[in-house]
């Protein structure tokens, strides 16, 4: 490892622009002639649109255009789609209801876009939006998923009877039922995974620019995957053919999944730009973000876990109702199915598993992948159940887990996944040591003397990331492949550009991808530029989500580097009159092994471009492309331990310590990996203690601002104790598993296990706010 190579704690190259205020986000973009859009949104959760009167708005100062869904439809703009086909167990395809970018006949959730106003200034657009007069006929709304399935519930889409999108299963139902029936002990729980709002700090934004002379569109957008946005907008929404549509995702202020999807607003801005003849920019305010960004989680499940008389797990049966909101967002269907039920084996050897999942429409914001996506729900269900089982069986939670760990690899679970490598006991041991698990009883007693309730909780998560082998996901219903591309351009002076289909919105790719190049060629990272986020610059790529940039994106870079290295060695061998097999690259120099003959990297690069003296038949230049399609998912895993103290008078929970011991495979930059874990844990603690998206019965979002939705603040959190004990991933050339989501996946059950331990109860609802905790403590005293 050099000072800038793989494994080094290199400070980030991209930081300079962010710490000096020179970052360039979509809202910072200015295009000559640019005007501003404001959306008129439904104030009702469920209503028919009777009449839209735009006359008064059209006459307001500065107004350039007031456009409706009927005009959009007349221009042939398509409906939004969900790109992952799920079939119900009866073989029928999922029931996808129509989602027009601008509603024209019916609205289905508060925030549904109906009209767009384009005006000279943002304020004028907003003023005019308020003057649009829409007559609605209100309909009964339903926000709760189990209720939406009841007979007589309001019917949201004509395509989906009783609001059921699909009724899907995975695993062997008969074998599982038999295992549960024969079990010596069965732990049964109802598990609710609360609805969350991702809340990237940068609100979503889009700037659409139609160039009439060129008949060409450009869209600047807050996207985690600009190429996918271009593909979908072209192939499905009929905005423009791909070659006439450029999508740019510049600096993006966090995503956490919510910026994967293609939303109505970017489609409408592009269309409105052509319609009005001016570039159109829209920036969400925070309440718009709360109302319309895809939400996360929202599962209601029952679980039965069977054990034999030796406390060995014999079977797991799960029934889940997943709330997908008012419309099926782009990847919504795969989250509660193939990203959820496939992880229900956890770190454990479970011979029989069956999961049944019903996905349901409600009059709420669409729900899709949010950091972890399905895996946090699986982990929460499993780790809450394990903890409860240990308490019921009267054994140590740690030892019950250890007894049931999978210990040999590869391991085929009963729910599709084939785990390739791991050492779950190593993470458990590391976390127990770091948390002084053994000394907890003493600390609990000391806390009791101070009148405080102390609890400890553990969570052993596994997740599947490095999304994903294209043929495998295709066979499961994905509409796209999940490979990644890379291009490595060595310039004539030896500096290097890496063009990647991955997208960085906080992950630090400009540094870590450069470290990979430094490791290979010894070129300083300052001489390596990472280019991403622009469909005109970078060939087709699939973007960043599912902790895939390292395992998949960097593997593509590694493949391209292989090709560059091979050609560079050929050129060097020719220049040095040596055999190419004898050439080694050492710290920026190509050498003939065992001799003092060498050629500097830049001189070899120059030779490639002067082409005066290349091996016979070799093409000039030094630029290579690679596409990498992974052979398997990757399986990061780890153990988290949370210790809390509760003030019984106020119900306030203080996190005394939080320990994470992760296995991420090989690590490029430990500083950046730790940062990912810190952020993930904060979001997980947020889910457990603070955050919840709440709708009232009429479908109004009660938590639509930072005054009402409790974001984790610095004073809510401790400093975290994080460590890794890594087993390299055998499935990709770099041995990387991925680290982006682990923190959010592993932490909520650790926190809730600690709180229930402290109070001495079986379950408590998330978020375990002070009032909820206080009420739970009171209930134990009745």
């Amino acid at each position: 490892m050099g000072i800038e190579g793989v494994g080094a704690r290199v400070a980030r190259k991209e930081d300079k622009r962010f710490i000096t205020g020179a970052g360039r986000y979509v809202d910072d973009m200015v295009v000559p002639g640019m005007k501003h859009a404001a959306f008129v949104r439904s104030p009702h959760a469920h209503a028919q649109i009777k009449k839209i009167d735009v006359k008064q708005a059209q006459g307001m100062p500065g107004v350039i255009g007031v456009l409706t869904g009927k005009e959009l439809k007349a221009d042939g703009i398509g409906n939004l789609i969900c790109g992952w086909m799920i079939h119900s167990k009866d073989g029928s395809p999922m029931k996808m209801g129509a989602w027009s970018p601008l509603a024209f006949d019916k609205v289905r959730y508060v925030g549904d876009a109906v009209v767009v106003v384009v005006a000279e200034t943002k304020s004028q657009a907003r003023d005019a939006a308020e003057a649009v007069d829409i007559t609605y006929k209100e309909l009964k709304a339903v926000v709760d998923a189990p209720r939406a399935l009841e007979k007589g519930a309001p019917q949201i889409h004509p395509e989906a009877d009783n609001n059921l999108i699909f009724d899907w299963e995975l695993g062997d139902g008969k074998a599982t039922d038999a295992a549960i029936k024969a079990a010596a002990h069965v732990t049964r729980m109802k598990i609710v995974n609360n609805r969350l709002v991702p809340n990237a700090m940068e609100p979503r934004a889009a700037l659409g620019h139609y160039d009439k002379a060129e008949d060409h569109y450009t869209c600047w957008t807050t996207s985690q995957n600009p190429h996918l946005a271009r593909l979908v907008m072209s192939a499905f929404y009929n905005v423009a053919p791909e070659n006439k549509l450029r999508v740019i995702a510049p600096d993006v202020g966090g995503g956490f999944g919510s910026k994967i999807y293609i939303y109505p607003e970017e489609i409408v801005c592009l269309w409105a730009s052509k319609k009005t003849g001016v570039p159109v920019k829209w920036v969400a305010d925070r309440t718009e973000s709360f109302l319309t960004d895809a939400h996360g989680r929202d599962h209601v499940s029952t679980v039965e876990m069977g054990f034999d008389k030796n406390n060995v797990i014999t079977g797991l049966k799960v029934d889940t109702i997943a709330n997908l909101g008012a419309y099926m967002s782009l990847f919504s269907s795969c989250v509660p199915t193939y990203l959820y039920a496939t992880l229900l084996s956890g770190q454990y050897n479970i011979p029989a598993i069956h999961a049944n999942v019903r996905a349901v429409y409600t009059n709420t914001a669409p729900v899709d992948a949010y950091r972890g996506a399905g895996r946090p729900e699986a982990t929460y269900l499993l780790e809450r159940t394990m903890e409860t089982a240990a308490r019921e069986l009267g054994v140590s939670p740690a030892e019950l887990r250890r007894k049931n760990f999978i210990t040999s690899f590869p391991h085929q679970t009963p729910v599709i996944m084939n785990y390739d490598a791991g050492d779950y006991a190593a993470s458990l041991d590391a976390a127990m040591k770091a948390s002084d698990y053994a000394g907890f009883a003493g600390r609990k007693a000391a806390a009791a003397k101070r009148g405080r309730l102390r609890g400890i909780g553990m969570s052993n998560y596994i997740e599947a990331c490095g999304l994903a082998p294209s043929a495998a996901v295709g066979s499961l219903g994905a509409g796209v492949g999940l490979w990644e591309s890379a291009e490595v351009r060595v310039n004539a002076v030896g500096t290097i550009e890496v063009l990647t289909g991955s997208h960085s919105h906080g992950q630090g790719h400009e540094t870590t991808f450069a470290q990979l190049v430094n490791q290979r060629f010894g070129v300083p990272i300052d001489s390596v530029s990472i280019v991403h986020g622009d469909t005109d610059k970078v060939q087709m790529g699939m973007g960043t989500y599912g902790s895939r940039s390292g395992a998949v994106g960097m593997s593509a870079v590694a493949k391209a580097l292989d090709k560059v290295e091979a050609k560079a060695k050929k050129i060097a061998a020719h220049l040095l009159e040596a055999d190419e097999g004898d050439i080694v690259i050492d710290n920026g120099t190509l050498k003939v092994a065992g001799t003092d003959k060498s050629v500097p990297w830049f001189q070899m690069a120059l030779a490639a471009y002067t082409a005066h003296n290349l091996p016979g038949g070799m093409e000039p230049g030094l630029k290579e492309t690679a596409f990498y399609d992974p052979s398997n998912f990757t399986f990061p895993a780890g153990c988290y331990v949370c210790e809390v103290e509760i003030d019984p008078e106020t119900g306030t929970t203080e996190i005394i310590q939080f320990v994470a011991a992760d296995d991420f495979g090989n690590i490029i930059n430990p500083m950046i990996v730790e940062g990912q874990v810190h952020g993930g844990i904060a979001q997980g603690i947020g889910q457990a203690l603070l955050e919840g998206a709440f709708y009232d019965a009429s479908g109004q979002l009660l938590t639509a601002s930072y005054m009402d939705y409790t974001m984790p603040r610095a004073s809510d959190l401790p400093s975290f104790k994080v460590s890794t004990s890594n087993t390299p991933c055998p499935g990709n050339p770099l041995g990387i598993k991925g680290c982006g989501e682990a923190g959010a996946i592993g932490s909520p059950p650790a926190v809730i296990n600690a709180i229930t331990d402290a109070i001495g109860i079986t379950d408590i609802a998330m978020p375990a706010s002070p009032s909820t905790v206080w009420a739970a403590i009171r209930a134990t005293k009745r």
Binding site: I19, G21, M201, G253, G679, Q683
Partner: protein
């Protein structure tokens, strides 16, 4: 419409703005200083923190006309030419940022916090004082570390200067 005159990052500037224009929008749209960000509508997130007459202010809570006549420092004016301010340097060294969106507000709030605590800071104080700034990426762990480190650097710098003066 009103005339707004300010000293921003050491330069006298003026412009005409609607009475309802917030300081943050005046900075971003009239002056092109886009380093100051808007992350919410309720003065909670702190992405818009700047210094007005030496004090940290959420520039979304102040009208541009209210600020007229004031001296404003934004993230763009914090470094001394090519030399980063110690808080900027500490955020980089300690990985106190990821997506960078909350960072300008965090750095401006942190600078003010350190200035208000010449006696030095501890972790608990930093966490409480960050109440008005939300970050979704870092879990605050490295932000707290960076602020504590910058506080030490700045107090050494202040002592150095005091020594020189004596």
């Amino acid at each position: 419409m009103s005339e707004v005159s300010l000293t921003v990052n050491g330069k006298r500037v003026s412009g005409v703005a609607e009475d309802r224009t917030l300081l943050v929008h005046f900075l971003r749209e009239n002056l092109g200083l886009t380093g100051t960000h808007v992350g919410c509508d309720t003065s909670q997130c702190g992405a818009c923190v700047v210094h007005v007459d030496g004090k940290a202010v959420k520039s979304c809570t102040m009208l541009a006309v209210q600020a007229s006549g004031s001296t404003v420092l934004t993230i763009e004016g914090l470094a001394n030419g090519a030399d980063l301010h110690p808080v900027q340097a500490a955020f980089k060294e300690h990985h106190g940022l990821q997506c960078g969106f909350c960072t300008p507000g965090m750095i401006m709030a942190a600078t003010d916090m350190i200035n208000r605590h010449p006696e030095g800071l501890d972790e608990a104080t930093v966490r409480v004082e960050l109440e008005g700034n939300i970050c979704r990426c870092t879990g605050y762990h490295n932000i707290v570390k960076a602020i504590l480190a910058a506080s030490v650097t700045m107090s050494k710098g202040a002592k150095g200067k005091a020594k020189q003066a004596a």
